[in-house]
């Protein structure tokens, strides 16, 4: 059924070359950086330069000599020193790294299961005969596409401890380290439960009516129906959503950036925020690259699991 012919490579080539250029090349480059200590220094030099007037002509002094002025030249100098595995070793003893790993793992291990369970329960609820379902379903889609950074700031105003709408609870949503992490989790659950819900609802609606009928005839009650009919049929979908959410949740960045700024202290600073700051705020580029690679190695495990599952879908 499927065609062959050389032209197939012509169709495919632009996209492949593009991804090689903008994903594979940067990854190679950052692997190289991971073995170096990159230092950026600003060298300050003073130089005498001829003074120019508005027309660009040299200004002459009384003796007819060109006047000079002192100019300060700042030059950025990068030095790269090969240090082997030192960047990776440094991570092992860096408490900031340990803390970021703890934050990221806590986040993923609480938020993702919560999103799946809530999403599943909501899908079961919405799978029933409900008034105005299309409109309610549309409401539920909104969080998925809301700009995460804007969402973070909006929740910042909601969690605001002085005069915010939840201030009456007296909960230190943002100032207490444990609560701050919970707040990040709440926002993520708000944003991504609807995604799990939507996918599960689509899967549930694909379950043929006959199965429910058959179970009903066999005298199954609502709980049996959930456990014996819906859950088993949804297992493949659940696994895909789980892996997809895990891969995404490990990248956590936008929400804590807006909501807590990683704080208080570093209590909500996930790994990607630490790597970002190390690289592009403190310009410790080699160390940040090593961090990224360590991160990549962990995520590869998830990816491998994910693709083993996913490959079957593209047969």
């Amino acid at each position: 059924m499927r065609w062959t012919g050389k032209i197939r490579f012509l169709f495919l080539a632009p996209a492949v070359i593009w991804v090689l250029a903008f994903t594979v090349f940067p990854l190679g480059y950052s692997l190289y950086l991971a073995f170096y200590k990159i230092e950026q220094k600003v060298e300050v030099k003073r130089e005498k330069q001829p003074m120019l007037d508005a027309a660009g002509q040299p200004v002459l002094d009384d003796a007819g000599q060109p006047r000079t002025k002192n100019v300060v030249i700042k030059e950025q100098v990068n030095t790269a020193t090969f240090i082997g595995l030192d960047n990776f070793k440094r991570m092992l003893t860096d408490t900031q790294v340990h803390e970021a790993v703890r934050v990221t793992l806590t986040f993923v291990l609480i938020a993702v299961p919560l999103e799946l369970v809530l999403g599943f329960l909501l899908a079961v609820l919405f799978n029933q005969h409900i008034f105005g379902r299309p409109i309610l379903r549309a409401f539920m889609i909104l969080p998925i596409f809301a700009t995460p950074l804007a969402v973070g700031y909006t929740f910042f105003t909601i969690f605001y401890e002085v005069g915010g709408p939840l201030a009456w609870t007296g909960i230190p949503f943002l100032s207490n380290p444990t609560w701050a992490l919970m707040s990040v989790i709440i926002v993520d659950v708000w944003q991504w439960t609807p995604f799990c819900f939507l996918v599960f609802l689509a899967a549930l609606q694909g379950v043929p009516d006959e199965l429910y009928e058959a179970a009903r005839v066999d005298g199954a009650n609502a709980w049996d129906m959930l456990k014996e009919v819906m859950l088993p049929l949804l297992i493949p979908t659940i696994v895909i959503v789980l892996l997809l959410r895990m891969a995404e949740a490990l990248k956590l960045f936008d929400i804590p950036f807006a909501l807590t700024g990683g704080g208080p202290g570093v209590a909500t600073q996930p790994f990607s925020m630490l790597a970002f700051r190390t690289g592009l705020r403190f310009f410790d580029l080699g160390y940040a690259s090593a961090m990224s690679y360590a991160f990549l190695a962990v995520i590869m495990i998830v990816i491998t699991l994910f693709f083993r599952r996913l490959r079957a879908n593209y047969g």
Binding site: L27, F126, I130, L226, I240, F253
Partner: protein
């Protein structure tokens, strides 16, 4: 939709389920509503508003914040930049990704099988972006492209490319191959069959994919904040920057959050049918 669920034959069950569903939907809509409510408040009403902050009931609404923010050149620039970058990245990704999707759907690849190629495109999407942000930043600095919309188009087109490949691959698979074969027999050639037969039929899917990837670029923050600080400032970066310089002004924050959120929300509602397939990278058919 047929009545397919357990326990829903009984009228009271239906009412209870509906009430719970309405409550849940309102709960999920609340934060967006709250941002909107804040955008309509006078600064003096910010902390004193009672109840659910309903305009006209709990406070007298004003459009001043909207007029003030939308009249600020920085806001206009951010909205303009985000629009240009998101449209360009979506178009570029469609131009690159659609032929690739067609190749995977219609041709047989041997050394690397078709599914391997699809998965290779996908793997790029699962990668943590923070792993590529530093080398990309350095490359753009070397090329003198820091703080340009061009650099943001390049990187965002790369990020959304897998979505195009996966969504359109499925679209082409769903199209009847016979029409293209007829065109081939008429001597159209593979490119003609693609361009004149398959592409027009795939147009609705391309539009939906285009909308979804527009929203993804619009919402992207990590690269936007790394690459674009002033000339190429994007909406999320503008929001973050405004907090730093102007402090927490909830009334303006409401406006800024709404201007960021509204365009992708409209898209989400238009492209509803494609969201499940799109966001699960084609793994689940919605």
């Amino acid at each position: 939709m047929a009545d397919r669920a357990p326990g829903s034959r009984n009228g009271w069950g239906e009412v209870t389920a509906s009430l719970v569903a309405v409550t849940v939907a309102l709960l999920f809509a609340f934060p967006i509503y709250w941002a909107f409510s804040q955008s309509l408040r006078n600064p003096i009403d910010t902390y004193t508003v009672a109840g659910l902050g309903v305009p006209w009931i709990n406070f007298t609404p004003t459009l001043d914040n909207w007029i003030d923010q939308l009249g600020t050149p920085e806001t206009v620039k951010a909205l303009y930049n985000s629009t240009i970058v998101s449209v360009s990245a979506a178009l570029l990704a469609l131009v690159l990704g659609t032929p690739a999707a067609y190749a995977i759907a219609r041709f047989r690849f041997e050394r690397w099988k078709n599914r391997d190629i699809t998965v290779w495109f996908l793997s790029q999407r699962i990668l943590p972006p923070v792993a590529t942000v530093i080398p990309f930043y350095l490359t753009m600095r070397y090329l003198g492209l820091l703080d340009t919309k061009f650099a943001l188009v390049l990187i965002n087109a790369t990020f959304v490319l897998p979505y195009v490949v996966v969504i359109l691959r499925q679209t082409f698979l769903d199209l009847p191959v016979e029409i293209e074969e007829a065109a081939l027999i008429d001597g159209a050639g593979h490119f003609g069959a693609f361009w004149r037969v398959a592409l027009p039929l795939a147009a609705p899917s391309m539009a939906a994919a285009g909308l979804i990837i527009f929203a993804l670029t619009w919402n992207e923050f990590l690269f936007a904040v790394a690459i674009g600080s002033s000339d190429a400032i994007m909406v999320p970066v503008h929001i973050a920057g405004a907090i730093d310089t102007r402090g927490v002004q909830f009334w303006f924050m409401g406006v800024r959050a709404m201007t960021a959120i509204i365009p992708p929300l409209i898209i989400a509602l238009i492209a509803q049918r494609y969201i499940v397939r799109g966001l699960t990278l084609g793994a689940v058919r919605g």
